[in-house]
Symmetry: C3
Subunit: 151 residues, 3 copies
C-alpha cells in the first residue's frame, strides 16, 4: 500500500488535493464568523438566549453571509470534482510535469476565485479564475477517458 | 500503481465515474447560460456594467435558473456519494458483470434524471430515475459493508 | 489490488466512510418525506395532479423541509471532505489506533450533529458536534501534509 505514496505524481496529487479541500473547509468557520458579526442566523435554537424582541430580527439573510455561502457552494461544485477526477487521473500514470501543471493551475485558480468572490473584485476576475479551474477538470477528465475507456 | 488500472472492474469504475462527474460539471456552464439569457444574477459585480436603473432588476431569482441549480444540487447529493462508495466497492473486487450492472444503471438513471428535471417531464419520470440511482448507491454500500467490516 | 483491502487501516476507513456516506444519503428520502407530509414542493410537475386552487399553495418553503435541507448541506460540506482527506490519510499508513480514533470520533460527531439538528436540541450541542467533526478533518489533513508534501 505504501507504494502509492512513493509515486511522485500521487504525492503531488495528495498535496494539492489536501490544500484545496482545506481551503474549502475554511469557508465553514468563515460563514459562522459572518453569521455572528452580521447577526444573521438560520435556526431558532441559535438565537434562543437572545431577548424575545430581538429573536425575529436575527433570523434573516444577510448579503455578506449569502456571499460566503455562494463561494462555499462554488467550491463544492468545482473542488470535489477536481479531487475525484484528479485521483483517477493520478492513477493512470501521467507525466509528472503535466500532472503538476494541472494541479498548480487548479490550486492557484481556486485561491484567486475565493479572493475575487469574497472581496467583490470587479468581473471578469472571478469568472476567469473559475473558468481556469473548470478547464483543468475537463482536461484531466479527457486525459483519463482517452487512457482508460471500458464501457 | 499501474496495476490498479489493469483491473477491469477498476477501469469500468473509472470510465463511468468520469462520465457522471462530467455530466455534473456541465450543470455549471448551463447555470451561467440561463443566468445570462434570463437576466437573473446573484452578485452585484456581475451587473456592474449595466445602466443603474437596470441593475436592481437583474439581481433576482428566475425559475429557470433555480431549476438548473436544484438539478445541480441533486447531482451533488447523488453522484458524489456514487463515486465515493463506488471507488471502495471497486476495490473490494466484485464480479465484473455485477459491477458493470451497477455502474451502467447509475449512469443511465442520472442522464434520465437530468433530462426529466430540465425538460419538466411529468412525474414520476424524475422520481423513478432518482430512485434507481439511490438504489445503486445503497446496493454498493451494502456490498462493501458485507465484504469489509472493521469497526 | 485486493492488497489494499487486506490493510486494517484501509478496512477501517472503508467501513466508517461507507457508514457516514449512508447517513448523508438518508437525508434525501427524509427531505422527500417532509415535502410530502408538510405539503411543500419546489417543482411545478410535483403538484401537477393536485386541484388547480391548491397548486400555488403547495409550491412553498416549509421550515421543517428547510431544516432537513440545511442538515443535508452541512453533511455535504463536512462528510465529503472527510472521505476525500480520509482516503489519502489511510494511504499514508498511519498507526491503526490513531486512525480508528479519528474515524470513530468523526462518525459519532456526525450522528450527534444530525440528531441535534433535526430535533432542534438547544445549542451548543449542534455546534460542538460540528466542531468535533471539523477538528478530525483538520487533524487528518495536517497528518497527511506532514507525511507527504510535494509542491
Amino acid at each position: 500500500m505504501a507504494k502509492l505514496m512513493e509515486d511522485e505524481v500521487f504525492m503531488a496529487f495528495t498535496t494539492y488535493a489536501v490544500i484545496v479541500v482545506l481551503k474549502m473547509l475554511l469557508m465553514a468557520p468563515l460563514t459562522v464568523f459572518y453569521r455572528i458579526t452580521r447577526g444573521a442566523f438560520a435556526n431558532v435554537e441559535d438565537v434562543a438566549r437572545k431577548p424575545a424582541e430581538e429573536k425575529k430580527k436575527l433570523l434573516r439573510n444577510h448579503e455578506d453571509v449569502e456571499r460566503v455561502r455562494r463561494c462555499h457552494q462554488n467550491d463544492i461544485e468545482t473542488i470535489i470534482p477536481f479531487v475525484l477526477i484528479g485521483l483517477l487521473y493520478a492513477l493512470t500514470g501521467p507525466a509528472l510535469t503535466a500532472a503538476l501543471l494541472h494541479f498548480r493551475i487548479f490550486a492557484g485558480s481556486r485561491i484567486c476565485h475565493s479572493i475575487a468572490y469574497l472581496c467583490c473584485l470587479p468581473q471578469p476576475s472571478r469568472g476567469l479564475s473559475w473558468m481556469a479551474g473548470m478547464l483543468v477538470n475537463f482536461s484531466m477528465a479527457y486525459s483519463v477517458l482517452t487512457t482508460v475507456l471500458y464501457l
